[in-house]
Symmetry: C2
Subunit: 142 residues, 2 copies
DNA sequence: TTATCATATAGTAAAAATTACTATTTGATA
DNA sequence: TATCAAATAGTAATTTTTACTATATGATAA
């Protein structure tokens, strides 16, 4: 669970208001190993803030992304998921239960493409996604 | 450009009808380095087959995916793109013009996660996406 | 603590993307 | 060439995302 203090500082820096909605959305994303969809964010917060608007969730997540505080990625099925920006990491997705874990592996962070293969591209960053079966689904024989 | 004959054979095997729509969609995907969105597929074919239904494009692409002949992936912006299944490869995406190139690099195909980091997962496959600027956009100073 | 003001929110509506449904058409087979 | 199941187009329904606006609220400074 990431501290909210960093988030608060960032909002102050940028002159953004610290609303309960933003704090709640940040809290969901910052909880360890969360990769919720828009709707999951909305539904979870709605329990405590029934007046929350889905609109606000959309706009807040977009804001977070613009600020570089969060990012979205999409699974093979085309489901868009969100996560907070933390240290560089990659993902591993269970093909059965759809659970997504983070992988922190510095060797993956260092991947390079040899010049003849990258066709003149200047590479800024990269993501790796592994697909497989988690320990529970593996036992159930899929 | 991939041969259509493989596709035709695959359809016969599975008892699928060889319709002009399917052939056209396959042709678009099979053209070298194409990663079109649903709408791009639809618009391009509509020029020659004005009666084509968007519905058919959706269903055909889903079919191709179920058959393991195509796959979808999504860019950071959440745009879903489709491609034909060819030899294992990865992607490099220009952050400015959104062009997507394929990378064939066997060392990337061999990526592994060390057991302590994969948390019990059994890994089946993986994808790597690089982000950067292509040679043209690089020259334009982004 | 309170007044002020720009920003954020909720609520509604509009637009875009995706899926469902069905009558008709069409490819494959004999 | 006839038959039949499967595929298609067209339409409608549903879902997802975005736009718009009046109201509410966080931040600031008096």
């Amino acid at each position: 669970m990431e501290k909210a203090s960093g988030f608060i500082a960032k909002c102050r820096e940028r002159g953004l208001k610290l609303t309960p909605q933003r704090l709640a959305i940040h809290k969901i994303l910052a909880a360890k190993a969360q990769h919720p969809t828009i709707n999951e964010v909305y539904e979870r917060i709605k329990k405590d803030y029934p007046s929350l608007s889905l609109n606000t969730v959309y706009k807040t997540l977009q804001l977070f992304i613009e600020l570089g505080m969060a990012s979205q990625f999409t699974t093979k099925e085309g489901v868009i998921r969100y996560e907070i920006k933390i240290q560089p990491h990659h993902h591993i997705l269970c093909l059965k239960c759809r659970r997504i874990n983070d992988i922190f592996d510095s060797s993956l962070d260092k991947l390079k493409v040899s010049p003849p293969l990258k066709g003149g591209f200047e590479i800024i960053r990269h993501d790796v996604i592994f697909y497989g079966y988690c320990s529970e689904c593996k036992q159930e024989g899929r």
